[in-house]
């Protein structure tokens, strides 16, 4: 019945001719544009990227080659290479993101529990999302600059005889980028977590309270299982985007001073482009690197799926 009532073709019009031209036109008019868009800007782009990984432009002639892949492995395996550094930083950033995911959940939990001044916190925590990253980064760079309090703090902590320029010193640049990331990602995904928590029946929380559960039990034994469809999906998307993990590296250091990440490296390939993009071999190399990352990420997704068993089975999309 539910299935029938969901679909007008089966339900409302089941006594009429189910293949009504007006309905076909209606459905087509709703799916045609996104389908075409998907075919051109997703399928074609990715297929072309796959092909580009095996090509190189030498003097205007396109050659089929595996050179991009051999270059990738050479760079990846050589000591102190930018690619190796990018992998390392990406993984560290990814781990920080997972920790911040948990912290973000707890932030939303305490806001949901109406901690004192929760309304004000909700507004203040949303502030960094309201303004461009360029603004926040520009001001952050001033705060961590040589005249700022953090430079002095680092000088005292590391017993230095100079005030370090934190973002221009390979000893501190990565830590400063991560500090920026932790600072800004503290509120987490307040919108989706807040939306999910808001739909938990009050009676469930009330009866748990009567049973004497403490806040940890309430958060992890009642709320997490109830909103698992949301948490599981966000977690899965988080893990799937492992190679996209990057703080505001572009704005803070442009990948310099040992702060490069994979996604910033890819962005910089386009940002630094000069001349005709059709002739740039940087894009071909980028496609090869991307292809290797995609293979690893898809493999990871399958392994995760196998290992997690039922954990992600109840995720709803």
């Amino acid at each position: 019945m539910l299935e029938n009532s969901k679909h007008p073709k089966n339900a409302v019009l089941k006594h009429k001719n189910p293949i009504k031209l007006s309905r076909v036109i209606f459905i087509l008019s709703f799916i045609l544009i996104p389908t075409l868009h998907f075919a051109i800007f997703y399928v074609y782009v990715n297929l072309n990227s796959f092909i580009m990984a095996f090509q190189l432009n030498k003097g205007g002639t396109i050659y089929w080659t595996l050179e991009n892949f051999s270059r990738f492995f050479t760079e990846f395996l050589s000591n102190g290479s930018e690619m190796g550094q990018a992998f390392k930083n990406t993984f560290i950033t990814f781990i920080i993101q997972q920790v911040m995911f948990l912290i973000g959940f707890l932030v939303s939990y305490f806001l949901y529990k109406k901690i004192f001044l929760y309304r004000a916190f909700r507004v203040f925590f949303f502030l960094p999302s309201l303004v461009a990253g360029t603004i926040v980064s520009s001001i952050f760079m001033k705060i961590v600059g040589v005249d700022g309090p953090f430079s002095l703090l680092f000088q005292k902590m590391f017993n230095l005889d100079y005030r370090p320029e934190l973002l221009a010193d390979s000893q501190f640049a990565n830590q400063t980028v991560w500090m920026h990331m932790i600072w800004l990602s503290f509120p987490g995904n307040m919108v989706l977590f807040g939306g999910a928590f808001g739909r938990i029946p009050e009676s469930v929380i009330e009866s748990a309270k009567l049973d004497g559960v403490n806040w940890i039990q309430e958060a992890f034994r009642i709320i997490v299982p109830m909103v698992w469809p949301t948490i599981g999906l966000l977690l899965m998307l988080n893990i799937a985007g492992i190679f996209g993990a990057s703080g505001s590296v572009f704005l803070l250091t442009k990948g310099g001073y040992g702060t490069q990440t994979l996604s910033n490296w890819m962005y910089m390939q386009i940002y630094n482009l000069t001349g005709n993009p059709g002739e740039s071999n940087a894009f071909n190399y980028m496609s090869a690197v991307g292809m290797m990352l995609t293979i690893v990420s898809v493999t990871l997704a399958f392994i995760l799926r196998k290992l997690s068993g039922k954990i992600f089975d109840e995720v709803q999309y």
Binding site: K6, P8, K9, V12, L13, S22, F26, F30, I33, P34, H37, I40, F41, Y44, V45, N46, S49, K114, I115, F116, L117, F121, R122, F124, F126, P128, S129, L130, V131, A132, T134, S138, I139, F140, K142, I143, D147, W183, F186, M190, V191, G195, R199, N214, P229, L233, L234, M236, A240, M266, Y267, Y271, P277, G278, F283, M286, A288, V289, M291, Y317
Partner: protein, 301 residues
């Protein structure tokens, strides 16, 4: 009236304080610690704005020499000079404002509408391939393809979408996270309203636009606002795809790079703060809409 309001406000505050301490001791301590952590982060976020506004009132040399001091004499003129001095690739403040509004209003509107329509038709109508879209979007999200940026850039270049108002065409794709949010929203909208309308002689279009769309309008509004804020502040795409058609977010960043030579960081921070005003105003009016209408996934029974 005002006295009554004050009384109820104080009563409410008193109630909240009593609730705060009316917990087991360990929980009260936890809440106090969390409260102070929250205060620290909240104040640090507020400080960004405070510092930015103050920097916009200083002279360039004050920003460089004493960045954390208050201005000796506030330079209100900076906030007026922005409109005269800000110029990036031939676009002044108002030119960039137009570009920002064009891409940040039109883009999310089109993209939300397309996602919403696709989610509706694939959720409520059974046809060959109706489940394909959900499958594809899910696979796209959990198995992202890396490194296709170069290929995408070449395509945009060949289609003339770089530095062009036609770049808006990229907003016509509805197969993304927003699709999932609308799909989830339509799953909770009863089909019985539509059934009644069909019996009364309504066609599919009027059922969607007059009955079903209004039921997800709050979510539509919230997602549109979130997308608008994201696009208004989007510098990364603007820098690579629209450097010669600068929006405010991308343009002011280019101006910042240029400022190194023009030594007017006072104008830069004034410009940044003016750019931050529209999202702040919007948030002030619609924060409830933004914070309480978006959800994904269900609640387990």
């Amino acid at each position: 009236m005002i006295r009554e309001f004050k009384m109820s406000w104080f009563k409410n505050l008193g109630h909240r304080i009593v609730c705060f301490f009316n917990r087991p001791l360990s929980e009260t301590i936890t809440y106090i610690i969390v409260f102070f952590i929250f205060c620290t982060f909240a104040l640090s976020y507020l400080y960004i704005f405070f510092w930015g506004i103050i920097a916009g009132l200083k002279t360039h040399s004050e920003i460089v020499l004493s960045p954390f001091n208050l201005p000796k004499s506030p330079q209100w003129q900076n906030y007026i000079d922005v409109f005269r001095l800000l110029n990036v690739n031939g676009y002044n403040f108002f030119g960039m404002l137009y570009n920002s509004l064009y891409f940040s209003l039109l883009g999310p509107l089109i993209q939300n509408m397309i996602s919403c329509m696709l989610a509706y038709v694939t959720n409520k109508y059974k046809f060959l391939g109706s489940k394909f879209y959900m499958l594809v979007v899910t696979v796209m999200l959990i198995m992202p393809i890396y490194g296709s940026g170069g290929s995408a850039y070449r395509l945009y270049y060949n289609l003339g979408l770089i530095n062009s108002y036609a770049h808006i065409i990229l907003a016509f794709g509805g197969m993304n996270m927003t699709y999932l949010l609308y799909h989830a929203a339509f799953s909770s909208v009863s089909w019985s309203y539509a059934e009644a309308a069909f019996i009364d002689g309504a066609n599919d279009y009027s059922v969607f636009f007059k009955i079903m769309l209004p039921q997800v309008m709050k979510i539509f509004g919230a997602l549109f606002l979130l997308a608008w804020i994201a696009d208004w502040n989007n510098y990364s795409s603007a820098l690579i795809y629209l450097p010669k058609l600068p929006t405010l977010a991308g343009g002011i960043y280019l101006f910042e790079l240029d400022m190194i030579y023009h030594v007017r960081r006072d104008i830069l921070y004034a410009a940044y703060m003016i750019t931050a005003i529209p999202p702040l105003i919007l948030f002030a009016f619609f924060n409830k809409t933004l914070m309480s209408n978006v959800s994904l996934g269900g609640i387990k029974e």
